[in-house]
Amino acid sequence: MAPEDIRQSPLKLTLRRLLHHRLFLLGLGLVSIVAIAALLAPWIAPVDPNKLAMRFKFRPPDGDFVFGTDNFGRSLWSRVIWGARLSMFIGSAVVLINAVCGTAIGAAAGYFRRLDNILMRFNDALMAFPAVLLAIGVTAVLGPSVNDVIIALGIVYTPRTARIVRSSVIVLREMEYVQAAVAAGAGHWRILRRHILPNAMAPLIVQLSFLFAYAVLTEATLSFLGVGAVPPTPTWGNIMAEGRQYMIDAPWIIAIPGIALMITVLGLNLLGDGLRDVLDPRLRIQS
């Protein structure tokens, strides 16, 4: 490392390396496009996504309708943009739940040895269920709606996040500076907050960005199956489910939300890869 690197703070160094990582930037760009479209939905897609207009049904993408219309004459442009809004919302909510609950559970299990056994048993039990099956099981209990999908995905993915936080905490707990803090009389909360959690952030952040991708994908799968948000809510999965019957005559109904989904998830995966390369050298995929 050159002397000037040592003078810069680790955060600045990390940011600088991120900004030089081409694939990360590509991912960031893709996700930003989707996120901005989602944020600006009320302005760039003012037409009500659920507004029926039978006289315009089955229009292929053309001058009037950029993405065409579906079987009810609804503007696909509107539906897909508002779908982006929903996907971003659901993804963010799931990530938030994971960040909070996963960290709490993982840190508790990793730090307090007596809690570890019992917490991890529950954790592993939840992880034993195949992800999508557990998700549809939860929606069977709670009913289909956007909020319930969020809860379902939260339940499905939190155990995985908890495991990752736990691994970090277990390693960090044995570090000498932590033992020094304990010897100096620091309390548990202080140790966790100042010494352990900040250093456990790196793998957590990487996991959360991949998690966003899984959440968006799984939500699409759930709505495609009909167990997610109820139609006519314009999630991408719903649009594709409804468009399935017309896929021969009006393929754009499935194609366009599919491409939007792919761009979003691809962007998130690239983001995750880039973060992993920069933040955690041990996990680095050699380049």
Binding site: R121, F122, D124, A125, L126, A128, F129, P130, A131, V132, L133, L134, I136, G137, T139, A140, V141, L142, G143, A213, L217, A220, T221, F224, L225, G226, V227, M240, R244, M247, I248, P251, I254, G258, L261, M262, V265, L266, N269, L270, I285, Q286, S287
Partner: protein, 316 residues
């Protein structure tokens, strides 16, 4: 070796206990009255009462718990409300279908994923590596139903090479099974192969940097031996763990694939059960599938021990 198997089975017991508890508890977590939820909005009070009685929901909860485990012990998972058959019966009919399809998809996944991952690692930073990683990236970014739909449009509708859906059992007509299972298997495999390729590549690269690889080269071993024997033997260890995850994802993915291609497997029946509030089926199906996955993971652990002598001899 036996010690490891026994220990894993023992470790699985508390997990299965919690899993069975959770599946039991599902019905009781439904907001509101489960009997009403099942019967539907247009049911008469009589029908609701019947359902409540059939499912034993009018008993005290501990009694229900006891009945649940007692039935489990004799292999009774209740009766599907939708299909009118015992859940066990339904599962026995449909499991072989899902398992056959998953096996097909798994073989494809392993072949494509391992080979492309190893090739990418050996030809790091060349076009082979970059092409493989681009495909892998796309693979993990697409939902498998999207790929399935695209394949249906291309192969079934346009080219008419394969049927759009349906299922022919292997025992009835092997070629027919192949025809109906290929698209579903590929739509699952392509995506999981992407995941496997990425992990295989990074594992191989990690292994190839190890000191013992340098020693192998210093001994004058030909490069092929260094890679295929020394590197691969070590790389397969963490990769085996991934295979366990892949099997879980296969079962997860079967939910969509079977629905899309109209294949009468476990995934399809579970989706139908959820849509129609057939709770006994959901409970029983979840329980059986999860139990199966736990067994698969134990198998994976055993393979892990077979591959890594350090685990075998220390029993870690």
């Amino acid at each position: 070796m036996i010690g490891i198997v026994v220990r894993r089975l023992g470790g699985a017991l508390p997990i299965m206990l919690i899993v069975s508890l959770l599946t039991f508890g599902m019905i009781h977590l439904i907001p509101g009255d489960p009997a009403i939820a099942i019967a539907g909005l247009s049911a008469t009070p009589e029908q609701i009462a019947n359902i409540r009685h059939d499912l034993g929901l009018d008993q005290p909860i501990l009694g229900q718990l006891w009945r649940w485990y007692a039935n489990l012990a004799i292999g009774d998972l209740g009766r599907s409300l939708l299909l009118g058959q015992p859940v066990v019966h339904v599962m026995l009919q449909r499991l072989p279908v899902t398992l056959a399809l998953s096996a097909y998809a798994l073989i494809l996944t392993l072949l494509v994923g391992l080979i492309s991952g190893i090739a990418a690692a050996l030809r790091q930073n060349t076009w082979v590596d970059q092409a493989a990683m681009v495909f892998a990236m796309l693979g993990i970014s697409l939902p498998n139903f999207y790929l399935g739909l695209l394949m249906i449009i291309l192969f079934a509708v346009d080219l008419r090479w394969l049927p759009t859906g349906g299922y022919i059992a292997f025992t009835t007509d092997p070629l027919g099974w192949l025809a109906t299972s290929t698209m579903p298997a590929i739509s699952q495999a392509l995506l999981l192969a992407g995941l496997l390729a990425r992990i295989t590549r990074s594992t191989m690269l990690e292994v190839l940097r190890q000191d013992y690889i340098r020693t192998a080269r210093a001994k004058g071993l030909p490069n092929r031996r260094v890679v295929l024997k020394h590197a691969l033997a070590n790389a397969l260890i963490p990769i085996t763990t991934v295979v366990g995850i892949i099997v879980s994802l296969l079962i997860s993915g079967s939910v969509v694939t079977e629905t899309l291609f109209s294949i009468p497997g476990v995934g399809q029946v579970l989706t139908q059960a959820v849509l129609n509030r057939d709770y006994p089926m959901v409970q029983g199906g979840l329980l059986v599938t999860t139990a199966l996955l736990v067994l698969v993971n134990i198998l994976v652990d055993v393979c892990y021990a077979l591959l890594d002598p350090r685990v075998r001899y220390d029993g870690a």
